[in-house]
């Protein structure tokens, strides 16, 4: 396997063009906030028209922002906190055509109000009361879960339902107060028009949310916004009361409460980390999650938080983009905090407090986190050992290289690659499909590669991408050790996976061809046919003048040569100092000479017709048997 192929393969993967267009269209839709245009009729006898949305107008925004601020002043007085961050819901562009709520224009609703509302950043009212002080800031995770929950069940419109003590979801956008109530398997949706003036709430106009009577002019508290009738105008013209009830296919109130009551899920659902502790493993994280899920928690105001033993304290954190979640456990109190970092640097923070039913929850979680320290220590020890081993190998390699730099006749040492516990394989460079080698070829390969004279070298990027290269690798069965050698024409690159590559130049410029021949070819047997008279042979080599070889000895030599497999090689190299055996055949029919050159484990054979022109002489055929001492063995035979 060549890890570089990962990039080459991956680069061919592209995002389909139709997917690109879908993405761009989706972004364009979100940017434009286009709504459908259709007409629906309600059971109350009103005909509600859906108008095309207009983009928000600055004039209106300023007025609404003032109105919202006014709401906040009033709302705060009844303990309801509204979301007043810079990313306030934009002015309800659906009602843009009613520009100027006090200008006597009719409100509109969209086709699916629940989906529309759930698309907003809504808040919740946990226990059904409008007047409690715990309107929570929901996390994006919780909102998403609520959207999934409320969008999924099938619903049938019904006439009416007692929604007292329902679990509520609400938000205000523009001049409208939206509310979704869930009680058992019934969901209600309502939208109430709130006319916001530029002055004090006493001048605000509107309808009461709790009045089901058309034309009622009762004054009621609506989310802390005091409204009163406009005695000079006809409320029916100003306001369309909208309220719908749906029977759901499932009882979802309990699920909704579960999502609302578990803001902790937001942080412990993610890969949180514990301050002042090492990386927590997934197992440890799961252990903490299980423990927290098993706690009985009661939401309390901050003044009632039971912190207990302050020394037992742990903080879990999770951050994403502009949000930071923190869960602090001190004693038996869990405080969950969400901080939103605005693009302009401001921060908005919401914190909730929960008392647990056990006083030692911080200690329990600390014990789990402490286990990560022990695990971290052990991992560090293992890592140090591994690094030490790598450092040792690096040092060895460095010393080898240093030795090579000072010793021209350094020989490549591949004992590690061909060690007994190493499985040997090979593949053409860039192929990645490994092939095995027989024991015989393994031995021959070792013999071939372990006698290479080397010197430090460099390999260029161009050379690295050469097609003429082969990788020979070795690895232990458990893959704890591996080493590979990439063989180019006359260069060889060693890689032991953990350390850098070591490149060497060899004295064998046909190294690649010879190795490939060894790996891919079958050895040739019976190179020489037996010799018969009138064959006459002589031999010579360095320091020895031509000496005759008896025919019997010649055939013994031929037999010895035929006892080995010979692998084709590109070149024999220099014949200087080679053992040269000349076998002549001369009679009336032929006059030829067989030249056999032997040097170490190489043999080169050429048969020349003595009557032919020089350029018609047969080229030498070169082979190698990879038995280094072969020629010495033959010399012994010749000298006997």
């Amino acid at each position: 396997m060549n890890i570089d192929d990962l990039k080459k393969s991956a680069e061919k993967i592209t995002l389909p063009d139709d997917a690109k267009e879908r993405i761009l269209q989706k972004c364009a839709d979100i940017s434009a906030e286009v709504q459908p245009h259709r007409t629906v009729s309600g059971d109350e006898g009103y005909t509600d028209h859906v108008f095309t949305v207009e983009h928000y107008k600055p004039r209106r925004f300023a007025r609404i922002a003032a109105g919202l601020a006014a709401c906040a002043v009033v709302a705060a007085s009844v303990g309801i906190t509204m979301k007043l961050t810079k990313d306030q819901p934009k002015p309800d562009s659906r009602s843009a055509s009613t520009a100027g709520a006090s200008e006597n224009t009719s409100p509109e609703i969209s086709g699916d109000p629940i989906a529309d509302m759930l698309a907003q950043d809504f808040t919740i009212n946990n226990d059904g009361s409008f007047d409690n002080g715990y309107t929570d800031k929901l996390s994006p995770y919780q909102r998403e879960k609520i959207r999934e929950l409320l969008s999924s069940p099938a619903r049938t419109e019904i006439d009416n339902y007692d929604m007292t003590d329902c679990t509520g979801i609400k938000f205000i956008s523009g001049n409208y107060y939206y509310f979704i109530g869930v009680k058992g398997d019934v969901m209600s949706w309502s939208r109430n028009y709130i006319a916001l003036g530029e002055t004090e709430p006493a001048t605000l106009k509107g309808y009461s949310v709790s009045s089901d009577t058309e034309g009622s002019t009762e004054t009621k508290e609506v989310a802390g916004v005091r409204i009163s009738p406009d005695t000079d105008g006809d409320p029916d013209e100003l306001i369309k009361k909208v309220r719908k009830y749906y029977k759901l296919s499932a009882n979802i109130e309990a699920d909704l409460r579960a999502i609302i009551n578990m803001p902790l899920e937001n942080i412990i659902g993610y890969d949180f980390f514990a301050e002042n502790f090492n990386d927590i493993s997934e197992n440890e994280r799961n252990e903490i999650r299980s423990y927290i899920h098993g706690l009985e928690l009661k939401k309390v105001p901050s003044v009632d938080a039971e912190f207990g033993d302050l020394s037992a304290n742990i903080t879990l954190n999770y951050e994403e983009e502009n949000l930071k979640y923190q869960l602090n456990i001190t004693g038996s109190c869990l405080s969950f905090s969400v901080t939103y970092f605005h693009p302009d640097g401001e921060q908005t923070n919401f914190t909730s407090y929960y008392n647990a039913n056990t006083s030692d929850c911080a200690e329990h979680i600390l014990n789990i986190a402490n286990a990560s320290i022990q695990r971290g220590i052990q991992e560090n020890i293992s890592k140090l050992e591994e690094e030490a081993s790598h450092a040792y190998e690096e040092e060895k390699a460095r010393r080898n290289e240093a030795e090579i730099q000072t010793n021209d006749s350094a020989i490549l040492n591949l004992n590690r690659l061909f060690a007994d516990d190493m499985h040997i394989g090979w593949f053409p460079y860039g192929d990645d499909i490994g092939r095995g080698v027989s024991d015989e070829v393994r031995a021959l390969l070792f013999s071939k590669l372990s006698r290479l004279r080397i010197e430090p070298g460099d390999i260029s990027e161009l050379e690295k991408n050469a097609e003429k290269a082969v990788v020979v690798y070795g690895s232990t069965i458990d893959n704890s050790k591996s080493l590979s050698v990439v063989i180019f024409d006359d260069k060889i690159v060693l890689n032991n996976k953990e350390s850098k590559d070591h490149c060497f130049k060899t004295d064998d410029e046909f190294l690649y061809e010879d190795v490939m021949a060894l790996l891919t070819g079958d050895g040739k047997e019976n190179l020489l046919a037996p010799f018969y008279p009138p064959a006459e042979a002589v031999y010579e080599y360095s320091g020895i003048s031509e000496k005759a070889i008896p025919l019997e000895t010649l055939n013994e030599i031929a037999q010895e040569i035929n006892n080995y497999k010979w692998y084709p090689v590109s070149t024999y190299g220099s014949t200087q100092d080679a053992l040269h055996i000349k076998v002549s055949f001369k009679n009336e029919i032929q006059d030829k000479t067989l030249h056999i050159y032997l040097k170490d484990d190489y043999i080169s054979i050429a048969e020349n017709d003595n009557n032919a022109q020089a350029e018609q002489q047969k080229l030498m055929n070169n082979y190698c048997c990879y038995h280094k001492d072969f020629t010495d063995v033959l010399k012994t035979l010749l000298e006997e």
Binding site: M1, S9, P16, D279, K383, D431, N479
Partner: protein, 158 residues
């Protein structure tokens, strides 16, 4: 919010890269496309001012990786490579199963191997992106390579 033209430019520039990362992480073409879409929506809505192209690219990768992690968390994290994703990967290079092998190793190794070997990020850059130390990234690279090699040899080499 960024203009649509800016988003188009970003989709052309980084769409393929993000898709590769998401496909390797999620092993599912539909989910990968959704993740890329969500990334660009966030880019349109929340992208900060970037100091350089590299900063922008790193931000997109970080967001995409987080989205993938969230999606993996919400579904079966051991989901198998779906057929469409498999076809995409094998069409990339019919002779190499290395991508398939990559999708089969655990997610935390997949992301570092992808960022390092496919996208060419250095260890310290990856560490910053995924919120880990350089040592942790090095170890994940080393272990990830080892797992990838083991998976590759076991499944695809005779």
């Amino acid at each position: 919010m960024l203009k649509t033209d800016c988003v188009r430019e970003a989709v052309e520039e980084y769409g393929d890269m993000l898709y590769r990362i998401c496909l390797v992480m999620l092993k599912n073409t539909a989910d990968a496309e959704d993740a890329v879409q969500d990334t660009f929506i966030r880019y349109m809505q929340k992208a900060p001012a970037f100091s350089s192209d590299e900063h922008e690219k790193a931000w997109l990768i970080k967001v995409a990786a987080n989205i993938c992690k969230d999606m993996l968390r919400q579904r079966n994290r051991t989901a198998e490579l779906d057929e469409a994703a498999l076809n995409t990967l094998t069409a990339a290079d019919e002779d190499s199963h290395i991508l398939e092998a990559l999708t089969q190793i655990p997610e935390k190794f997949r992301i570092v191997l992808t960022l390092h070997y496919i996208e060419g990020y250095k260890v310290n850059e990856i560490a910053e992106m995924i919120g880990k130390t350089s040592s942790a990234v090095k170890m994940r690279l080393a272990k990830g390579r080892k797992l990838l090699e083991e998976k590759y040899r076991k499944e695809y080499m005779q």
